[in-house]
Subunit: 660 residues, 2 copies
């Protein structure tokens, strides 16, 4: 054990194990999580060479192997609880993806929820036994977030009672679905349904892609891998071009909408039914943002405690780089953010499960709010976390660039969450739509409830006044007061966005153009709303913490999170008169004090995330702090070191020398 | 040609070709650049498969091959002017690196400048004929930016008149030098010189690594590749462990410091001599930041003009995504930044060449200022450009993640500039040291000259006053007025940092601790200083533009750059009383107008960067806008598509299906 990191742990002022229980949701959950982790880590079948040393084809191969093993192991161990499966998977996947990911996340759930009874009986056993290896083909080369723009067609032919599936244009080729390129023999394809000469919009169809015996693509199916990407090397994101592929009528998923034998289209009872999965996945992503940032902070903070560099005082030994204020300022607010997002993730999960109960009872009343919240928070947290991972990586100096740090893998695996499941800017604008609608309701005298109830107060409290005459309400040492400031900022920015739309409308432009011409303000308002929610939930979490030591350190984190946000957006707080100039100096001063206060607890706070070395897979983030010897060992395994002299010497360099 | 992009070009209000000349520095330079580009692009020897389809070993192989070819070609064509060589290289390298990069950038220049006469006669011909393939081994596993911390030792043995080279610890192993792993047979090694029982600090030594005949590592030399990284796949960044390697006395580079036969150490005449290269490389990086951002903007803006998505007005066709205000707000300020950095790069280059003349005359007076400026601007521009590349990438939706967009390559190739040649935070603090020193001189009554002369005024102008009572000086429509505002902001933030140090000192902490405890403020002050310099230089450039159409569009860009910076740092401008709250609303409004104003010129502005398709190597950034058909073609070449059925199906999936 590196003595620096041992000393860090000795200096901690709280009980790390207790904090781990809080993050897991209870002591029993910690115990079970560790059991599952040990199952995977001690399993010789999951040992493999570092994926970074392999070619793309080898990485894909290794991922398929692991996925196949996992399926057998889960059955062997009888693990069937979704949360436990999720835990098992996140260990064996490491920072990467599983080859059959879409089969589990989209193919199976869609069958479960959108098959009618007969379909269920036929398809679910095929999918659960992996005879049908499936994916979900929605995105097209020219169409992403805007689903109505999808071009793939399913035209019903009553003569044969079949749908004829086509990719009528180059932009309509399905593009990006995971597992589509090489792995899947079936896909659920989203296509525009045409029947009796009319288009009825998007429906889901089960399309066989490859022979179930030979895995060779079927006639009319042009399918393949879309090529290398920024990360996701182990996944065969694919393309799919359909050329008059005929499928039987009962391959359209018919739990809700239907096409009858003669081609008559029957509408689904409610459009809200497909809402739920989306909300669930986005809520999960919020937790993943906390997870990715927590892993990155663990690596950067542990390494900063064993890395010595430069000098603060001349002549003295090189200090730990965590002693530099600039390093603390980079890492500690991100550490606070990681905690914040983990708590927000817990909250979203709880709300989702509560509301799911209501939905299954036919009560959709809370869904719009949750939908708006999950969209905005997904964007808010993934943007911050992505940028934060890169800050952590660069805080590790040169070694952050080495694949042995794991930080490049964490980044390229996480950053796509900014784009998939709803592009972030579009998500922010969806939340803004809800906020503006709520604002208008409040302005019209309706009493709002739920998270947007603060908009009720906006008319009363936010009269325009000059900055200096405004009474100063914020106490920079009091979290509750800061939550209030975030709330008022959000209220003010929603109001400003609404007024911008109003002003545009007065120029006699259309509603739609007024919206687009105010889009910058709308995104800003959503951002402020999400920031308020995060600060509020972090503060609320503190209320649940009884242990004094824990409460103290988490309060420091929460205060740091709130104050750093104020400093970063100080213009907003000054502009809206929520903060005075002298108070802003207090904020800066207080921030520095909080950094110093957190310093002795930094390593313990990342230890509490409880990532085993085998899961972090980072030389820099090792629990024992023995970084350098293991970095040397890792490097020697690099494929380029398999021979002392690379063949290129004989092929190019020696002839060059002879030529000159 | 895609009709959307044709229409964009027709709408432009200025002469693209003229702007290209300005960016190149004159019509003749444009002409010559294009000639050289054509030489490379039309050369069948430089055609190769997309590197993204190759394994790391194949990529390294391809890079060595290209470097060897380039050397022969440059001789064949008689290209020897450094600027023309640089141009030639930047074409054949694309977004990647050359295998022999360090040989040219560090090994040869160090020999030129630090050999004495006899050494020059021996080593330069060996290096110029590539018999000696060299690199520059400075960074160690545990030591980067802080050079004094390097541990490698060179101990003089007068008995044999040799230096004994050693890596005494694991942290002293040389780590990261490009070309060290497999390519080089020589390295210039920086090591602590020990002679006559005393350490005399760092000196440079020529150390043979591999046999010049067989390329096999020599006894005592443990050398290899450090393994895969975030980018730089084609470079063999290496490690080097020296175990009692003996080299003759004349392998120490002795132009300045010397060791005599008996071991007597002779000091060099001046320490400033090694300054120059560092300043030069950092200045180059500023230009590279403009270059990387310009390439990214070209890709994102062209793609945004042909990509249609979602809807603004219901029922109408999907609009070009460049019509969304949020898309404009992402891309146009970055476009303005790319122009700004290109102009700053031109300026730095001119200043460097002017001052180099002075230095060779023994006049070092301007060097400290240039050193401080190049350090800060290197950090300021590389941070912004790196984040900007990612914004461009994500503004392309899902396809930005595909390697066919080229944006992932541009990012991973550029982002290391934040860390190498001086870690950015350290660079910012170096600039801050110069600013604080200048501030103190001004406070003590000295009249400052040069770029920091604004600190002369600080005492007089920046008396604390309340925000509302301050007279409003800024005209948000006038660039000169905005330059002034940036200047005053910088002055105020330098003052605040100086006062923070002062306050710390009053708490009786040491100078060094006071500095560290004010580091956040110091970085902020440097940042404001650099921002001021960039805005000022952009405004100054406008003074050189005679053409009305060009002047108009560049003025719009400059104003956008300045106002967006103010919006992003609105807290600073409000806090320092340089802007009032109503003015801030004006800034927001004006920004939206500028976005709309730039919209018709956006494609033409990236066309003016004049990157040929072969250099951009981006399907999304194609000049003709025919994105989708070429994306499909690219994907089909993916190595995973070489077989219809991947072997993993037979190895894992079929057995899995049989098992369940």
């Amino acid at each position: 054990m590196n003595p620096d990191i041992t000393r860090e742990r000795q200096n901690a002022t709280f009980d790390v194990e207790k904090l781990t229980h809080i993050l897991d949701g209870g002591i029993e959950k910690t115990k079970r999580r560790r059991e599952i982790e040990s199952l995977v880590i001690s399993d010789p079948d999951f040992q493999s060479e570092d994926l970074n040393f392999l070619s793309r084809s080898e990485r894909y191969d290794a991922a398929v192997k692991k996925s196949a093993q996992m399926i057998l192991k889960l059955r062997e161990y009888g693990i069937s609880d979704p949360e436990e499966i999720y835990c098992y998977k996140s260990v064996f996947r490491g920072h990467h993806h599983e080859a059959l990911g879409l089969h589990f996340v989209m193919f199976l759930p869609t069958l479960y929820t959108q098959c009618n009874k007969q379909q269920f009986k036929k398809w679910v056993p095929l999918a659960e036994s992996f005879k049908a290896l499936g994916t979900y083909a929605q995105t097209e080369m020219g169409h992403g977030t805007h689903l109505r723009g999808l071009e793939t067609t399913a035209t019903y032919d009553p003569a044969t009672q079949e749908f004829v599936m086509n990719s009528p244009t180059i932009t309509s080729i399905k593009w990006w679905p995971g597992g589509l390129g090489k792995t899947s023999n079936y896909a659920i394809v989203l296509a525009q349904l045409h029947t009796q000469g009319k288009c009825h919009g998007l429906q889901a169809f089960i399309v066989p892609l490859r022979s179930m015996n030979t895995h060779i693509p079927l006639p009319g199916v042009v399918v393949g891998d879309i090529g290398p990407k920024f990360g996701f090397d182990e996944v065969d994101n694919g393309y799919l071009k359909l050329e008059n592929v005929r499928i039987p009528r009962d391959h359209m998923l018919m739990k809700y909408a239907k096409v009858e034998a003669d081609g008559t289209y029957v509408k689904p009872p409610s459009a809200k039914l497909t809402y739920g999965t989306m909300v669930f996945i986005r809520s999960m992503i919020v937790g993943e943002a906390g997870h990715a940032l927590a892993k990155s902070c663990t690596i950067a903070i542990r390494y900063s405690s064993v890395r010595h560099q430069s000098e603060i005082r001349p002549g003295e030994a090189e200090p730990q780089i965590m002693d530099y204020q600039t390093q603390q300022y980079k890492l500690f607010p991100l550490l606070a953010t990681a905690y914040a997002y983990k708590f927000v993730g817990q909250y979203m999960n709880q709300v989702y499960h509560r509301i799911t109960g209501d939905i299954s009872q036919g009560d959709f009343s809370e869904l719009p709010e949750l939908h708006a919240l999950s969209a905005g928070l997904k964007a808010f947290t993934t943007w911050t976390a992505s940028a934060g991972i890169e800050v952590c990586r660069m805080a590790c100096g040169g070694h952050g660039y080495s694949r042995c740090s794991a930080l490049p893998d964490i980044y390229v695996t996480f950053v796509p969450t900014c784009t998939y499941e709803g592009e972030n800017t579009v998500m922010m604008l969806q939340t803004a739509r809800f906020l503006i609608k709520s604002y208008r309701q409040a302005s019209a005298g309706h009493q709002l409830s739920g998270i947007v109830s603060y908009l009720n107060e906006s008319e009363r409290r936010l009269q325009p006044q000059s900055v200096s005459s405004r009474p100063t309400v914020v106490n920079v040492n009091d979290l509750a007061s800061l939550v209030e400031a975030y709330k008022l900022r959000a209220a003010k920015l929603v109001e400003m966005a609404a007024k911008s739309i109003q002003q545009e409308l007065q120029k006699r432009v259309s509603q739609e153009d007024a919206w687009n011409n105010s889009a910058i303000d709308l995104v800003r308002a959503s951002d402020a709303h999400c920031h308020y929610v995060v600060v509020k939930l972090f503060a609320a979490k503190l209320g649940e913490i009884g242990d004094t030591g824990l409460h103290s350190v988490l309060s420091t984190l929460a205060l740091l999170y709130a104050l750093q946000g104020i400093q970063q957006h100080s213009g907003d707080f000054l502009q809206t008169g929520l903060l005075s100039v002298p108070q802003l100096s207090q904020v800066s001063q207080r921030l520095k004090e909080l950094l110093a206060q957190l310093r002795p607890n930094a390593v313990a706070l990342v230890d509490a995330f409880d990532y085993r070395d085998e899961m972090l897979n980072s030389v820099l983030g090792r629990y024992d702090g023995n970084v350098y010897e293991h970095m040397f060992e890792w490097a020697r395994r690099s494929p380029l070191n398999k021979t002392e002299v690379h063949e290129s010497y004989h092929k190019y360099l020696k002839p060059l020398q002879a030529n000159l």
